[in-house]
Amino acid sequence: MSRFEYSRPECLSEAFKLMAENCGYSLLAGGTDLMVKVKENMVKPTVVIDLDGLEELKGINIEAGQIVLGALTTHTQLEQSEIINRYAPALAKAAGIIGSPQIRNKGTVGGNMGNASPAADTVPALIALGAEVTLSSKEGIRTIPLEELFLGPGRTVLKPGELITLISFKVSTHQGCSFQKLGKRKALAISVINASASMEIDPETNVIKQARIALGSVAGTAVRVSAGEEILVRKCYSPELIKEAAEAVAEAIRPIDDVRSTAVYRKRVARVLVRRALEEAWSQLHVTRGE
């Protein structure tokens, strides 16, 4: 383990100053990924900047049909939040399935993104929910769709001196969303594959207005699969339609063989997971509308 200094800024501007002064910094949110990488010498920070003092990066709020999450929101907070369970149960499910209670108590949603693992569980759920991320630096702020944050395993578009501050997404009673995960065991398992799907319908006609399908662990980053989404849009829900969309997703993805599974297996289970995700998203739709 390399040696490093420790700093705990009390506000964002102090954090920006520390980031500008120390080019070898690592940001510490929950530490569940960073501390492992430090131990394995995969990162060798000169300074660890602990973000825990930044109160402006905490909290779950709903305003004008939009949910705003502070980047330091922990997985436990997401899992237990009344707002998230009511309006975005897929995210509560994804957060509640990560690692272990100890990991969920520490790990944060912003950290899950910043770590940029293709197997991150909250990421496909948030992509399916249409989330945007706000990145801040002393130069200013920019907001981008979540799927545009990632460049590859462990790589993001974050520039030196920039950090993830907020995650936001719109919620609607006409939208259902689901998250599905396949791991080797129930606890402490990194996803072999995960899938999330959302559908928004026109309440008058029941026609699907918008669909988002996102998968993890099938590419270098979480991916949205438009081939499946296009099959659903402007159609009415049916078991046949869902099957067709799931087939199209399995056909479109290009997973690889790695330590956790094989490409062939991932393609086969993608079909099942996407079908289950779409079925559950549809049933969520009826729950949220009180039908």
Partner: protein
């Protein structure tokens, strides 16, 4: 590396100490505070042998830095009971044979304590989930879950 002065509450006592900026909490507890009940297993947040309670929530002390606990409340296994007055969870672990080699036991007990502090009447699957971050390789989870359930039954 620079030393930092931190103040925090350890097992109910106010403590001030100098810590190295890059020291892990588990090393600080064991080597500086002499509290060797907190074990080092995997060192990567997987096994839960180093579980402590920070501000009411369990954490793996191998992936927490000592300076991070400034201003917080930390409970280790030494804060749970004493030889003279065992905690009901410790008594139940002995009675139910939930301890064999004992290496996972401090972490198991603290995960169980955190659960019961938050929810005194958990269901069986909530008990199982609460110890899902604590690996046991010899006793087996059934006796451990039985011991926790015994405390729940006795209390209610």
């Amino acid at each position: 590396m620079s030393k930092l002065l931190i103040s925090f509450v350890l097992n109910g006592q106010k403590v001030s100490a100098q810590v190295e900026s890059d020291m892990r909490l588990v090393d600080f507890l064991r080597d500086e505070m002499g509290l060797t009940g907190t074990k080092i297993g995997c060192g990567e947040g997987d096994c839960g042998a180093c579980t402590v309670i920070i501000n009411g929530q369990t954490a793996n002390s191998c992936i927490v830095l000592a300076p991070q606990i400034a201003g917080k409340e930390v409970t280790t296994i030494e804060g749970l009971g004493s030889y003279e007055h065992l905690h009901p969870l410790q008594e139940a672990f002995i009675e139910e044979g939930a301890v064999q080699c004992g290496f996972c036991t401090p972490g198991m007990l603290l995960s169980a304590k955190a659960l019961l502090d938050e929810n005194p009447n958990p269901k069986h699957d909530e008990i199982i989930r609460s110890i899902s971050g604590n690996l046991c390789r010899c006793t087996g989870y059934t006796k451990i879950a039985n011991a926790i359930e015994k405390v729940v039954r006795t209390k209610s």
